[in-house]
């Protein structure tokens, strides 16, 4: 008996080890892909940095939609809050230290997450979806009207970040911004892989599948979801701040319904409920957007729509989810 228990411990430890190994592989993969991107597109680092910033938004959405099962079409509110907060910190308060700006974005995102969560979690189903859409429009209108603070429809310009760590200028080619973005992404990704495997992450997955069961286990559903919303906001806020720092301007599009919907498309394209899915979806979608809108900007929306329909019909688990399922099946057959 004692032997058996020991053996099982060994097994469980092996599971942990594979999980840790997979996380390490994930981090290495991010570094490798980022490096390849740097070498292949040295003149397009701005786009690559934008992809990283949006990846934060998609990861953040994944936390809420993929891990908690909340359908929202207003998630850009959290990203935009981070972007505007970091931008306004620089323009109006002279806070130009990049890491501080990111922290400001993180906090603003978390606050926006708290507000969004408190509102969106009031209802379920269609009313919940409507709340999320109304919320993003409300944020958008607010930013539009408070133009003395936000620059309104002209955008908030004049963001002038100091050199990173006092050493690296944010150069014209966007090298510093890109490296800064990659490092931030690695940190956040490493933290999130641990969070989704933590007891809290497990509770969230349970809530997604059956909130009534969780209540019968004595778990608190609403407050858990709200906490996840705050964490999600912090992640999106970092992305917003990164975008503000790298482009040195914040536009109303960062608080738009379209960005919210697009981030959902990216997440579903990659696969919900997995951080890798979120990243893959972002890269593929943004790259696709860059190609199509360069070739024919007129048809961009049609293409996104068609892509979405195709994913729903043929790859409902997304690229990563479908591929993972395929390899699992193959592995089982052997």
């Amino acid at each position: 008996m004692a032997l058996l228990v020991k053996q099982e411990h060994g097994m469980a430890n092996a599971t942990t080890r594979t999980a840790v190994t997979r996380d390490l592989i994930g981090l290495v993969a991010i570094i490798v892909v980022a490096g390849i991107g740097y070498l292949l597109f040295p003149n397009n680092l701005a786009l690559l940095t934008r992809i990283i910033a949006i990846a934060f938004l998609v990861l953040s959405l994944d936390l809420v939609t993929g891990f908690c099962g909340i359908a929202t079409l207003g998630h850009a509110a959290l990203f935009g809050a981070g972007a505007y907060a970091a931008g306004m910190a620089s323009v109006h308060f002279g806070i130009n230290e990049p890491i501080t700006m990111v922290m400001v974005g993180l906090i603003a995102g978390a606050v926006a997450g708290l507000i969004s969560g408190a509102v969106v979690l009031r209802a379920h189903g269609l009313p919940q979806l409507v709340l999320s859409i109304a919320l993003i429009h409300l944020f958008h209108e607010l930013a539009n009207k408070a133009s003395s603070w936000t620059g309104g429809s002209d955008g908030l310009s004049g963001i002038t970040p100091d050199p990173l760590l006092g050493m690296f200028e944010f150069d014209l080619w966007g090298r510093t911004a890109y490296v800064f973005g990659v490092v931030l992404l690695l940190i956040v990704f490493a933290v999130l892989t641990r969070v989704v495997r933590s007891p809290f992450g497990m509770l969230c997955r349970g809530i997604k599948e059956d909130p009534i069961r969780i209540r019968a286990m004595g778990g608190a559903v609403q407050s858990t979801l709200l906490r996840m919303y705050i964490i999600s906001g912090a992640v999106a806020g970092i992305g917003g701040a990164l975008n503000a720092i790298s482009t040195q301007v914040v536009g109303l599009d960062s608080l738009s319904f379209t960005l919210s919907a697009e981030s959902l498309v990216m997440l579903v394209l990659g696969g919900t409920g997995s951080l890798y899915g979120g990243l893959i979806g972002t890269v593929v979608f943004m790259w696709f957007e860059d190609l199509v809108s360069a070739a024919n900007p007129f048809h961009w929306l049609t293409m996104v729509g068609a892509l979405l329909i195709l994913v729903v019909l043929f790859a409902p688990r997304g690229l990563y989810g479908s591929a993972a399922a395929y390899f699992t099946r193959r592995g089982e057959r052997r």
Partner: protein
């Protein structure tokens, strides 16, 4: 006093247009439980067809309305067959994605075919001008819109409460499996309700073009407006939808009139407030 009156008339007209467009969404949502974000896109298609019929083909207004309604239904049928059929009973997220995909496609295609500019649907002489009520005159079109709304409400009430089809429809809304077991062909009921819903959306899109101007982003701009009518009114409830339209029409019109500089701000704030207070809708039946 006069401004109060004219705001009230505008609010009523706006609310009625919202009602005509959204009621089809409400019925199909109550029936098929599909979160259809593309509903407004069909209203937009109706508007485009009518505009094309009047301006390019030189047809009369009444003919244009008819062509728009039937044309939109014709376009919608294959979309229902090929795409909507696959998401009945799917998780909400799947439905959201599919219908938002359809919306994006329709917007993109409308943009390509008709261009990004605003399309008008010229009114016939009888609907232009205004009617003098003695103490105040009202734009004839507003009265027309209100009359259309009332006619649709009455017609639907009759259809649902007084006809054989209505009995089947109500049975399918309450319990589709049971209705099917009792011999109701639910797929036929679904298809007919979907067609009626889309037809009404197109009708509303044409009649309401003065208040909700037809342009490619129509489908996105008013998406939340139509959805909110359903979620506030309660899916499948006609009185709920009517009440929701009047309340939301009132808030939106008053907001625009009193604080035009805030745009949609009050509308969205009101939407959030109403749903937070009534998370199950005013009629309390939504799920």
């Amino acid at each position: 006093m006069q401004t109060v009156f004219s705001v009230a008339v505008d609010a009523l007209a706006y609310g009625m247009v919202l009602f005509v467009i959204s009621i089809g969404l409400s019925v199909t949502m109550g029936l098929m439980r599909v979160v259809n974000l593309a509903h407004g896109a069909f209203a937009m298609i109706g508007g485009y067809i009518a505009s094309y019929a009047v301006r390019d083909l030189g047809l009369g207004y009444a003919a244009a309305v008819l062509i728009a309604v039937f044309g939109t239904v014709l376009i919608a049928i294959p979309i229902e067959r090929l795409l909507y059929r696959r998401i009945y009973g799917s998780p909400e997220l799947t439905q959201v994605l599919m219908t938002i995909g359809i919306t994006f496609c329709i917007i993109g295609i409308a943009n390509y075919v008709f261009g990004p500019t605003l399309k008008t649907i010229p009114l016939p002489a009888e609907l232009q001008g205004s009617v003098d009520l003695g103490f105040r005159s009202i734009a004839t079109h507003r009265i027309f819109a209100i009359a259309c709304g009332l006619a649709v409400a009455l017609g639907l009430w009759y259809l649902i409460e007084r006809t054989g089809f209505g009995v089947k429809l109500r049975a399918a809304v309450d319990d589709a499996a049971m209705a099917a077991a009792l011999g109701v062909r639910t797929d036929v009921v679904y298809a007919v309700s979907f067609a009626i819903g889309i037809g009404l959306a197109a009708f509303g899109g044409v009649v309401g073009a003065e208040l909700l101007p037809v342009e490619p982003y129509y489908a996105l701009r008013y998406m939340v407006t139509f959805l909110v009518v359903v979620s506030v009114g309660g899916a499948g409830s006609i009185p709920g939808a009517l009440l929701a339209c009047l309340v939301l029409g009132g808030i939106d019109t008053t907001g625009r009139y009193l604080w035009p500089e805030f745009g949609e701000f009050f509308f969205y704030a009101a939407v959030i407030a109403i749903i937070c207070v009534f998370p199950r809708g005013l009629a309390g039946r939504a799920r």
